[in-house]
Symmetry: C2
Subunit: 486 residues, 2 copies
């Protein structure tokens, strides 16, 4: 154990959210900052990476069950490929890292370190697609991408290199491609809600905030405890723009050549940022049992004369739980006292602590303590597996419900620009308001307060709340959700 961990969390989630977050990430051993000369890069430590592995495991299984296959495309994209789709190059060029020299030679053409891979995947999909029988074509890759944004490093939320998955598909029709777009958005929502314990809002981005070259960008948005919204994952219906730029065509059943419709969708390790930020507290990391590297930690409490019995019993309990499939750690270190261990495992976010002392041994039970609220209950040894299972479910439910309450309390309606500004200024969160669809009406708000339209709900999810655009008074086409965002 390093010294830094022993100090515990010193910042406050409520009063210094940014510093508190950075402290939790480092002290819980999730990530370290990159080398001095490489601001914006982080090193993902094993405890952090294991969270990403949980995300991967779930999404990968769902993707494969719905027709997606993994593949791997080159890390570099020739500049001439990037330039074929003008929106992509305009959108990403300012953020691209370029390889210009290799093996002691200047390259003839600069190579972009991929900021996203449409420009290299679409031409290959074109190569592999001849007839309608080759469609739908769905590939996904788990990789890192680089976007050189000149902002402060915020581990997982904002880094110049980040891990993500990017899925790319091609279809015969707009309908099919749109269904695909929504299928992936649903899976992202499911990841947030059922795995990470974070309720989300879903909808589409306003047209001026779409993915470069996309027809429609859909998003899941999560509300953070500081009142800001996080774009949790996006799924794009790309229309035919990429297929046209890269000649992705097919011969249909009537022997006619047609242009395919494509989608792309990505979820990054920003999901980990949302996870850490949402549930953790001033004692450190809080994790739902679904993703915690250890779901249960057993802390034996002994005196010299009870040591052997307590350890023996603890070992049996650990073995039984492991056998039943739980991720369990028995902390039998001699050199640390129970109080130290309690703090350490709280800092590291283990959902359930089992305390075992001479009394528990004698009465054949264990004392179960919940993270984060300290709720304590005795579980009979005979009921161990079911008991632990229930406690873990309870903990998940508590975390989810807390986040859900926060979300529900922080979606408010507003019907004047002043009300929008005042509400966001005072409470943060989302403010929904009727909107004409014009970017200029977003600017009215954005220039006064750093809030923007983070999403517009799907028509089937929500009824309109008014007929008149709050900003300009024209006919309202839809409802805009304003929020500050990460």
């Amino acid at each position: 154990m390093s010294d830094e961990q022993e100090l515990g969390i010193t910042e406050s989630k409520q009063y210094s959210t940014g510093d508190w977050y950075a402290e939790v990430v480092q002290k819980a051993g999730l990530a370290s900052y990159g080398p001095e000369r490489m601001g914006g890069f982080i090193v993902t430590r094993p405890r952090g990476y294991s969270l990403w592995e949980s995300v991967q495991e779930h999404l990968d299984e769902w993707f494969k069950a719905t027709g997606v296959q993994n593949a791997y495309f080159p890390l570099f994209i020739p500049e001439s490929y990037l330039e074929k789709e003008k929106d992509i190059v305009e959108g990403f060029d300012p953020e691209v890292a370029w390889v210009t020299e290799a093996g002691h030679d200047e390259l003839e053409e600069r190579l972009a370190v991929r900021p996203t891979s449409e420009s290299i995947i679409a031409p290959y999909m074109a190569q592999w697609t001849r007839s309608h029988r080759d469609l739908p074509l769905r590939v996904n890759q788990w990789c890192s991408v680089v976007r050189w944004e000149a902002t402060e490093t915020k581990p997982f939320f904002r880094t110049k290199e980040f891990l993500w998955q990017e899925g790319h598909t091609a279809h015969e029709s707009e309908d099919e491609a749109w269904d695909e777009t929504v299928t992936r958005l649903d899976q992202y929502q499911r990841l947030y809600e059922d795995v990470l314990g974070i309720p989300v809002l879903r909808g589409r981005k306003p047209p001026h905030d779409k993915f470069p070259g996309a027809d429609t960008t859909t998003t899941v948005e999560a509300l953070m405890p500081d009142g800001k919204s996080v774009q949790g994952g996006t799924s794009h219906y790309l229309g035919q723009s990429f297929a046209e730029a890269y000649d992705l065509t097919y011969i249909d059943e009537d022997e006619e050549e047609r242009v395919a419709h494509t989608t792309s969708w990505g979820l990054s390790w920003r999901a980990l940022g949302a996870l850490i930020m949402t549930h953790s507290d001033d004692q450190g990391l809080v994790l739902p049992p679904t993703v915690a590297p250890e779901q249960v930690v057993i802390v034996p409490i002994w005196q010299e004369e009870t040591r052997e019995d307590v350890l023996q019993y603890s070992t049996e309990v650990a073995a039984e739980l492991e056998e039943a499939g739980f991720r369990v750690h028995l902390d039998d270190r001699d050199e640390r006292n129970p109080g130290f261990k309690f703090n350490e495992w709280e800092l590291k976010g283990v959902p359930l602590r089992l305390e075992i002392g001479p009394n528990e041994v004698e009465d054949e039970e264990v004392t179960a303590v919940h993270r984060p609220d300290g709720e304590t209950e005795v579980v009979d040894r005979g009921d161990l597996v079911d008991g632990v299972d229930e406690h873990l479910d309870d903990i998940f439910t508590k975390l989810y419900e807390t986040a859900e309450e926060n979300l529900e309390e922080n979606v408010r309606e507003a019907y004047s620009p002043e009300q929008i500004l005042g509400t966001i200024g005072q409470h943060g969160g989302y403010v929904k308001t009727p909107w004409c669809g014009d970017e200029a009406c977003e600017e009215v708000i954005k220039e006064k307060i750093a809030a923007e339209i983070v999403m517009v709900p799907f028509a089937e999810d929500e009824d309109p709340i008014g007929d008149e655009c709050t900003m300009c008074g024209d006919d309202a086409e839809e409802t805009a959700y304003f929020a500050k965002s990460y």
Copy 2:
């Protein structure tokens, strides 16, 4: 299905091995060549990537069961970091791709796209290690690396970017670090032999062919059908050179500061190259059932009047096998005849084909046909699951034994330089000979024929075969295995 697949394999494994290999890789849908301006890069298609996923799944499980945790380190390494360990920089500098511009700016310091990550991982391990209690420290990452070698692209065998895992560990003592080195080498051997069906030789590289900065490089070597050796995976005992260069020290039990001993070990997608090359034939890809994306393909054979019965029965067979955990595909396409399907699945390397026609339906059986040798046997429907299981085991055994025979027949002894040259010239394979340990004695052979010492067996694995170096006549320290290599 694209036209190219319909053509089948036109090259010969025996007479044009290189072209045949390239054809199999492409026609079996494993990989495509990279963009025109990016010679040396490949696109790994889903069928190729699924083989890599099999490799990952096995190694990852074994690594984790032996104390390794996954992590993720930045893609880029500042030039100043690379320069801290002089052997690394000398060894890799000629092959490095450099990022020099990002976000429209020239970078102050060039960033290397990682060719291997010792130089960025060691400094972090140093940061995380205070006391002997923090050791052993074991991290692994699954990622791609870039080495700008100016040779012809050979998919999976030689590419400028390749996927691999790189493990990095730190230990208190040389003994522990050496044990670690051998543990990983054992796991690589197990992967080749038990999963990929390829027997390997194991030993260490001669000192002049070690990993830059390493004390000892150990290797598993696989013999390819063209008589060349492939370095299948390497595990390095790095001694204290990296620990010294990057200040990786710890406080021992007596409160003394000590320098750690480190290891690193890597296995790349070259393992897929060896897999494809070893087992495949002039009909296309051959895969052991352990890694085949589909282990069993069911091809129904019907006439108009038997179609319904045959399809119904085939569907039931497929369901039963899937239920039992096999990876099964029922090829019920209307637009292709059975002969076409046979060829296609042979090309794609499915180990076991089940043919089901009206006779099989009536007699409640299936006809099982092995890839690659066409061995055919009838399996009773009542014995389906066990029968298929046995056939798949048989197929694995056949593939392994064929490779093993090839290896055994191609390790020969030689006691004069002429004999070494003649034997390798005539047969390829390995020639073992007593060696003094001097690089100059390798040169004597290397300058005449492009063969080198690919490995020296461990003392515990093999007894010496002579006292005198075959090349110079001095005392022989060990046995050298000469071979041409990839």
